[in-house]
């Protein structure tokens, strides 16, 4: 603890797939509040993990030089970061978070798609992985062992996650898969052979180890589906994350230098982000709402959720630059085109997506390209949450079937959302894709500092909490989303807004509309909600009540467009509606 008290400046390097960002956190005298911390400067540059640089530190040093110009303070000298601090030079601590390294390439092999294979997929989504293929014998009488072996040999993945059979259950089909994997591994050069992570029928562990132990490294963990009714993902998730840290993060070019400068092990960005979501959950202390965090990056979308002190992280392997093309191959272009307020041919859309992948650091300059970017963010967000939702146990938290469980606040982060030209656009994208129900506050991580704060929390929790409370997360507004069915234009809720200064406003929410009422950042108001008997605002069907709301950059939003949100089928009408919504949130 004595050491912790001496830390007055912390530098965080957040090395993403495209950008490397440095954030400098400093202790400031907080008067009666005592010591507190603020972000005082930041710098951003391209990540240099790939050619022509092949060294993460090149980007970090470049950003350090930029930070020196901004702060007028020397941070880098004699070929290294100056730490600990000497007078006005250097920083007390340096922490690094990483999502830049290539994800683990993974082949999943198992028996039943809805059981062990689905569990394996969920386990894999907790780490930066790319699932190259799934091997299963479902639907065929004979085991296609040649095909399995050829697939594994040709892909030469980093890891084969072998699952299948409840404990004490199926044996032969699992061993057939193991046989094929062993054969494939034996045909690869030793340094190309995949690690086999076995998380299947526990009774087969000795046979699996005996079969493959001489050929490749076999790691045995608890069965992901030990009984028909239970799922147990933790050990497989931990093993995959550790493998990612060892083989990707610590082995990244330049990581050794960064580790030498740092006081802490390198941390995956998603893990750091989820710490912030957990902190928010504990801070809010709500038992009837969870907390949701979304980080839309260039190559991945991270969903972190916390319900009743249980936390969940899902990493969807698509972001705004890398992944949309593959997404279109899986889902078609129509779901993206439907979000555009102007007509666009599929060919033009694909052209933009291709070039976004070729030049992921660029930003939309033309409004048409911005609409495409926003459509992509909506669908990546939606897909990421669809993937995450089955892993959540929301406990007693109110969840309308098929809808997002009650969450408040919703933290949005990542370049995909934070770089929107106007805050209302980030809010609209969030509402369109997540479709929250009841009452939620939307927090914008305007400096993309949330993962950095999560990393700082591991070093000095007080500093992270203090920085978070000092305006790092900005409220976009409080959103009330009544859920139910009505005719368009029908009044579904009456609301009285009672402002702190005593003024009040009586308003009505009509089905199909989205309205924004004034509530400035930091301003508080009491809302007296009276939904009609067929609508739920998170307090129970037809039940109203008084709730406190805090304003934000956009205001107080009543989203009565319906859940699920349905866009008009007629293209002209749909575009008019979309234009209207954009107009509603400030253009």
């Amino acid at each position: 603890m004595a050491e912790e008290r001496t830390i007055e400046s912390i530098l965080v390097a957040d090395c993403g797939t495209v950008f490397t960002k440095l954030l400098l956190l400093e202790s400031v005298e907080g008067g009666t509040a005592g010591q507190s911390y603020r972000f005082v400067a930041q710098a951003e540059t391209l990540t240099t993990i790939n050619p022509p640089w092949n060294d993460l530190t090149v980007g970090v040093v470049n950003a350090l030089e930029e930070l020196e110009q901004v702060t007028g303070r020397r941070l880098y000298g004699a070929g290294r970061l100056i730490t600990p601090r000497h007078g006005l030079e250097g920083v007390d601590a340096f922490v690094v978070i990483l999502s830049a390294p290539e994800p683990l390439s993974l082949v999943i092999a198992g028996l039943v798609r809805e059981m062990s294979l689905e569990s394996a997929r969920r386990a894999a989504s907790g780490t930066y992985t790319t699932i190259k293929t799934i091997l299963s014998r479902e639907g065929s009488l004979n085991s296609p062992q040649t095909t399995w072996s050829r697939t594994v040999r040709d892909i030469a993945p980093d890891v084969v996650l072998l699952v299948g059979g409840v404990d004490g259950g199926a044996r032969r089909p699992v061993m057939e898969l193991a046989d094929a994997i062993a054969l494939a591994a034996s045909m690869l050069e030793r340094d190309q052979r995949p690690v086999v992570l076995y998380a299947g029928n526990a009774e087969l562990r000795p046979q699996i180890t005996k079969l493959m132990g001489d050929i490749t490294h076999v790691e045995v963990v608890d069965n992901v589906h030990p009984t028909v009714a239970t799922e147990h993902l933790g050990p497989a998730q931990t093993a995959l994350e550790q493998y990612y840290i060892d083989e990707r993060m610590n082995a990244a070019p330049g990581a050794e230098t960064l580790l030498a400068w740092s006081r802490l092990p390198l941390l995956p960005t998603a893990t750091a982000f989820s710490r912030v979501v957990n902190y928010l959950c504990r801070r809010e202390g709500n038992t009837d709402r969870g907390v949701l965090g979304i980080d839309v990056g260039a190559a991945t979308t991270t969903v972190a959720a916390s319900f009743e002190d249980r936390s969940y992280v899902t990493i969807y392997d698509k972001g705004i630059a890398y992944g949309p093309l593959e997404w279109v191959r899986e889902h078609g272009a129509a779901p993206l085109l439907q979000w555009l307020p102007e007509e666009m041919e599929e060919e033009e859309l694909l052209m933009l997506l291709h070039n976004r992948e070729l030049r992921p650091w660029t930003v939309p300059q033309d409004p048409r390209e911005l609409w495409v970017e926003q459509a992509v963010v909506r669908e990546m967000l939606r897909s990421a949450v669809d993937m995450a939702r089955p892993t959540w146990d929301a406990g007693k938290i109110n969840a309308i079937p098929g809808m997002l469980p009650g969450v408040d606040p919703i933290l949005i982060s990542g370049g995909g959302l934070v770089h929107m030209p106007r805050p209302g656009q980030a809010l609209l994208i969030t509402l369109d894709s997540l479709q929250p129900t009841g009452i939620s506050t939307i927090l914008l991580d305007i400096n993309r500092a949330a993962p950095a704060l999560g990393a700082v929390a591991g070093l000095k929790p007080l500093a992270a909490a203090s920085a978070m409370e000092s305006g790092t997360l900005i409220s976009l507004g409080t959103v009330i989303s009544p859920v139910g069915k009505a005719r368009p234009g029908e009044v579904v809720m009456k609301m009285r807004i009672v402002y702190q200064d005593g003024g009040s406003l009586n308003v009505e929410a009509r089905y199909g509309d989205m309205e924004i009422w004034p509530l400035l950042p930091g301003q508080k108001a009491t809302l007296e909600l009276r939904p009609n008997r067929r609508f739920d605002v998170g307090l129970g069907l037809g039940r109203g009540g008084k709730v406190q709301a805090i304003g934000g950059l956009v205001g107080l939003v009543v989203d009565a467009r319906g859940r699920p949100l349905v866009l008009p089928e007629d293209p002209d009408r749909r575009r008019r509606v979309l234009h209207g919504w954009i107009w509603d949130v400030g253009g």
Binding site: N50, P52, Y322, L350, M351, H354, D366
Partner: protein
């Protein structure tokens, strides 16, 4: 912040890596001079294989399979050859599904491996071998005009450059591809269509360099035998003037074209190189700062592919058409057209 760059330079010295896809054998020595067609390294691609489940095909227990085998480990077999048979009336046989050799046996099964394929890598550019590892490949130093491209179909070729359009906005049409196109690497302006591609294949062109191609043509182009590279990525926009002017000045010269690229992890950029009998040309300096007068290209709409020079670097933020406010520069696109472009959408031309 780093501003990315593309090389589009009439005379520089470059180092071109020529790497094998997997460890193999390097066939040239350090310090050796090589010509474009010289094979510098080779490796063996993993062979096709198949597992023959003899026990199942003969319907006998695994332990008894050995008694029915007609081939031994290491034997060479042809497709249809009998591998094992169970005689007698209604007897069953297991036949070889591919040509190959018996590489393993066990648990009632045979492993057949086909003849492995040798993969060879040519020098592609003439020059001096300045790095040679024992198993991975070489690096060749060469001098000449060099251009980094935006997209490539993965293929490579060496041939004579032939500019077939007059302006960077002109697409290649069938009328541009006559008998003189045979064996040539064609330069067009903006793009080309399916019909033109058919004509190019029929006339046996050796490669195509254009501004862009539509996304719908990508699968077809990736299946071609010859390289297609674009300066502007996937686009219908005109070729950037800086690229077109340099290519036009090289009309008739021998050119090396590499369309090899990897997405996302590890960037190998497609390139066009026109070797020159010159010595002492300097390599590009990636540290060249962005200043007023720097040559740049715009990477995003509405000015995708436009090239010009930086005419001002404003101190504050610039307002984009989307409403965003970001740091950026003013670019003189020529013809008295000045546009504001954020740093994020700029590329230095070196």
């Amino acid at each position: 912040m780093f501003i990315p760059y593309s090389v589009v330079n009439p005379l520089i010295t470059v180092r071109i890596p020529r790497r094998l896809p997997r460890p193999g054998e390097v066939l040239v020595r350090l310090g050796e001079t090589v010509e474009p067609a010289r094979i510098v390294a080779q490796t063996v691609e993993p062979a096709d294989f198949c597992i023959v489940d003899v026990a199942r095909e003969l319907n006998v227990p695994v332990k008894k399979v050995k008694a029915y085998l007609k081939v031994e480990r290491g034997a060479t077999v042809s497709e249809g050859d009998v591998l094992a048979s169970r005689g007698g009336l209604g007897g069953q046989v297991a036949r070889a599904p591919i040509n190959g050799a018996i590489m393993g046996s066990g648990r009632g099964r045979l492993l057949l491996e086909a003849e492995p394929q040798t993969v060879q890598i040519a020098a592609l550019v003439p020059g001096l071998v300045v790095e040679a590892s024992a198993t991975d490949g070489v690096v060749i130093e060469s001098t000449g005009a060099f251009m980094q491209m935006g997209w490539g179909n993965g293929k490579e070729a060496f041939g004579v450059l032939r500019v077939v359009v007059r302006a960077p906005r002109h697409p290649i049409r069938t009328k541009h591809i006559d008998a003189a196109a045979q064996g040539a690497i064609l330069v067009g302006g903006s793009h080309f269509d399916e019909e033109t591609l058919e004509q190019a294949i029929a006339m046996q062109v050796r490669g195509i360099i254009v501004g862009g191609i539509p996304p719908s043509m990508i699968p077809r182009l990736e299946a071609l035998e010859f390289p297609v590279v674009t300066t502007e990525g996937i686009s219908m926009a005109p070729m950037s003037q800086a690229f077109f002017d340099l290519l036009r000045s090289l009309d008739g010269r021998e050119v090396s074209v590499s369309g090899r690229m990897r997405h996302r992890w590890g960037t190998e950029r497609p390139y066009v190189m026109v070797p020159m009998p010159a010595r002492g040309a300097a390599p590009v300096n990636p540290e060249t700062p962005l200043v007023v007068g720097s040559r740049v290209r715009v990477l995003r709409g509405p000015y995708t592919g436009a090239s010009g020079v930086v005419s001002d670097i404003p101190k504050g933020l610039i307002q984009l058409e989307t409403g965003a406010r970001l740091p950026g520069v003013q670019v003189d696109l020529g013809g008295k057209e000045f546009v504001l472009v954020p740093f994020a959408n700029l590329e230095r031309l070196l």
